[in-house]
């Protein structure tokens, strides 16, 4: 056993010696391996980053919330069909609110974009969301200054407004906003509260909008608009029955006959995570495909170079055999050489993808990290390629006739 390791070590030294004599060729030879391992490891680290960032953001949509909407989140080829659907209306919302049993909270929601103005300061295209008392529960709003709406304000569609954290800074600068009047479009609203900082979801800033009673949006900005109905359930196990109940209630509300299709969509976070998994799964498959292909090409490159190397070093092989190297010894020597080339390629690739990952982490909004398993896989694959594609040339070397080799010029 010990003598095996000594022999292994001797052969590694011999191989390193030989490779050091041909540095440029060694590096060029490893290119295919580098590209292959780089592809797999880089994509793995990108997806790992996406998983951490993107997926957790999707999760923050709230796994306990169901959305009744005109369009499905994941539309197939027949999106045009959905355009002819009737809008979701307050009537639908009311119908559900009065009858639904499996819900913890139900809120209609709608939004519009308007410019808003305070004295000489104005901001354009600001999202104006219509909310109710229950929206606060469903979305988990927290108030930083002032207060949230009172039930009566919602019921009477008062022109009161709660502003987003950034709006306060942009519109009021250092002035205390509560009690001030702002214009949303042409309508005057009184500021009653400021939201706490909420951050962003999927690049969408949650702090740059304002919130008003949902009814005031209809009254002030027109009745002809679609809404969505948000339904929150107690825990994830309630999602299924709640979705069934919602569907049933919506169909009754819409007076659909049994043979008629749904003319609304019931959306839930899970469809997004499903889609996300499919997407990243596809990316993985593609990356592994490309990676395997380049490893194959790289492996054939290695084989080719090793065959050239064997042909060039016939004299050396002849000398070694004349001095007592057995077939296995020569085979071993050349396999070790090709394994070392490939492992070097694998290590270079891992270093490069590590740099990539740091760069992506710094430059793009996505977090990125190199997962350990991809490093091990990269090293494993490159070593395996070296082994596999090294066998044939090494055996060719071992088979050579020493006398012919010694005469070779």
């Amino acid at each position: 056993m010990i003598s095996f390791f000594i022999r292994l070590w001797e052969n590694i030294l011999i191989a390193v010696r030989a490779l050091a004599q041909n540095k440029m060729r060694t590096i060029l030879t490893t290119l295919g391996i580098i590209i292959g391992v780089l592809t797999v490891v880089s994509v793995a680290s990108i997806i790992e980053g996406l998983n951490k960032g993107f997926a957790s953001q999707i999760a923050s949509i709230g796994s306990n919330t169901i959305y009744v909407q005109k369009y499905p989140w994941v539309a197939g080829r027949d999106w045009f069909k959905y355009r002819n659907r009737p809008n979701i209306t307050m009537k639908d919302a009311k119908y559900i609110q009065e009858r639904m049993k499996n819900a913890e909270a139900i809120a209609p929601a709608t939004s519009t974009r308007r410019s808003i103005k305070y004295r000489n300061n104005s901001l354009t295209a600001i999202g104006v969301s219509g909310v109710t008392m229950e929206t606060e529960k469903i979305e988990g709003y927290n108030i930083d200054e002032g207060r949230y709406f009172a039930p009566l304000e919602i019921a009477k569609n008062k022109n009161s407004v709660v502003i987003g954290y950034e709006i306060k800074d942009k519109l009021f600068k250092n002035r205390y906003p509560i009690g001030e009047k702002i214009r949303i479009g042409t309508i005057s609203y009184t500021v009653i509260g400021v939201m706490e900082k909420r951050g962003s979801i999927l690049g969408h800033n949650l702090d740059s909008g304002v919130y008003v009673p949902v009814g005031s949006i209809f009254r002030n900005f027109g009745f002809h608009r679609s809404i969505q109905i948000m339904v929150r359930v107690k825990d994830p196990s309630m999602i299924e029955p709640a979705m069934d109940e919602l569907r049933f209630l919506m169909r009754v509300s819409r007076k659909l006959k049994p043979h008629e299709e749904d003319n609304f969509s019931i959306n839930q976070q899970e469809v997004l995570t499903d889609m996300y998994k499919k997407l990243t799964g596809g990316l993985y498959t593609a990356a592994i495909g490309i990676g395997m292909l380049s490893l194959l090409v790289g492996g054939i490159g290695i084989m080719n170079i090793m065959l050239v190397s064997v042909a060039e070093r016939r004299r050396e092989i002849g000398v070694r055999k004349a001095l007592g190297a057995k077939r296995v010894t020569i085979t071993f020597q050349f396999i070790i050489e090709s394994v070392i080339i490939c492992t070097i390629g694998g290590i270079i690739a891992i270093l490069i993808s590590y740099l990539f990952s740091v760069l992506i982490d710094k430059v793009t909004p996505f977090p990125s990290s190199v997962p350990l398993w991809s490093v091990l896989m990269g090293l494993g694959f490159s070593t395996f390629v070296g082994l596999f594609f090294g066998i044939y040339p090494a055996r060719q070397a071992a088979k050579l006739n020493p006398i012919e080799c010694l005469h070779y010029e």
Partner: protein, 230 residues
């Protein structure tokens, strides 16, 4: 005592396309320990073929070959490699050193293949280089050495494993006559120290240094001459 080498009716025939080339046509030869033999003969007579067979680099087409009473003609590839490693030292006309390795590493090669540990190896290889007067050149590469020095490195390599037999096929063929003589003096000393040596040569004055001259003609031994001690 048994002969070191016992060749019985050794035939070597090469098949070149449809033509048979008879390189050796039934050679009988006995060599005792500590002999110093020159093999002479015209080009193409079969000298190198005979040396390759004695050196276990090649197997005879037919005939018996016993080295230290062990039948070599029955051995497979691996066993022959082992014999070459432990019992035979080669010196070639073209030196055949590994060009990018130091003199020391070149001399260490046979020891690597017989599994001697790195530290022991270094000591033994340095001793061998010392014997051929090159201890001050051990870290030089072949291209940093003269032809004569290269051949001495090759000789050190040939004797480093303490072989039963040193084979040299035209060892002075690539050297000028002065350097050639120097090399022959090294062989002379080795023979005095107890080594068995076979040298193939075309030069009469080199052959005359041996104690026995075997002349080959067309694949047969034409003449086997024991020289007077001079």
């Amino acid at each position: 005592m048994d002969a070191l080498i016992n060749l019985k009716d050794i035939v070597k025939t090469y098949q070149v396309g449809t033509v048979e080339v008879h390189a050796l046509r039934g050679v009988d030869l006995q060599i005792q320990r500590n002999e110093y033999i020159s093999i002479m003969g015209p080009s193409g007579s079969g000298k190198s073929t005979l040396m390759n067979i004695i050196g276990c680099l090649d197997s005879p087409t037919s005939g018996r070959y016993e080295l230290e009473s062990t039948p070599v003609h029955e051995m497979d590839d691996n066993q022959l490699a082992e014999i070459r490693n432990r019992k035979i030292g080669f010196v070639f006309q073209t030196f055949n050193l590994l060009p990018r390795a130091s003199a020391l590493h070149n001399v260490e090669l046979p020891l690597i293949y017989s599994g001697v540990s790195a530290s022991k190896r270094k000591v033994i290889a340095e001793e061998a280089l010392d014997k051929v007067g090159l201890s001050d050149r051990k870290n030089h590469r072949p291209n940093e050495l003269s032809g004569g020095q290269r051949q001495r490195v090759a000789i050190a390599r040939a004797l480093v494993n303490n072989p039963s037999l040193i084979l040299a096929d035209e060892p002075t063929g690539n050297l000028d006559s002065k350097t050639g003589e120097e090399i022959m003096r090294v062989f002379g000393k080795l023979n005095e120290a107890g080594n068995t040596i076979i040298v193939v040569t075309h030069e009469k004055y080199i052959a005359d240094q041996a104690s026995r001259i075997v002349r080959i003609l067309d694949g047969n031994i034409a003449d086997d001459l024991q020289l007077e001690e001079n």
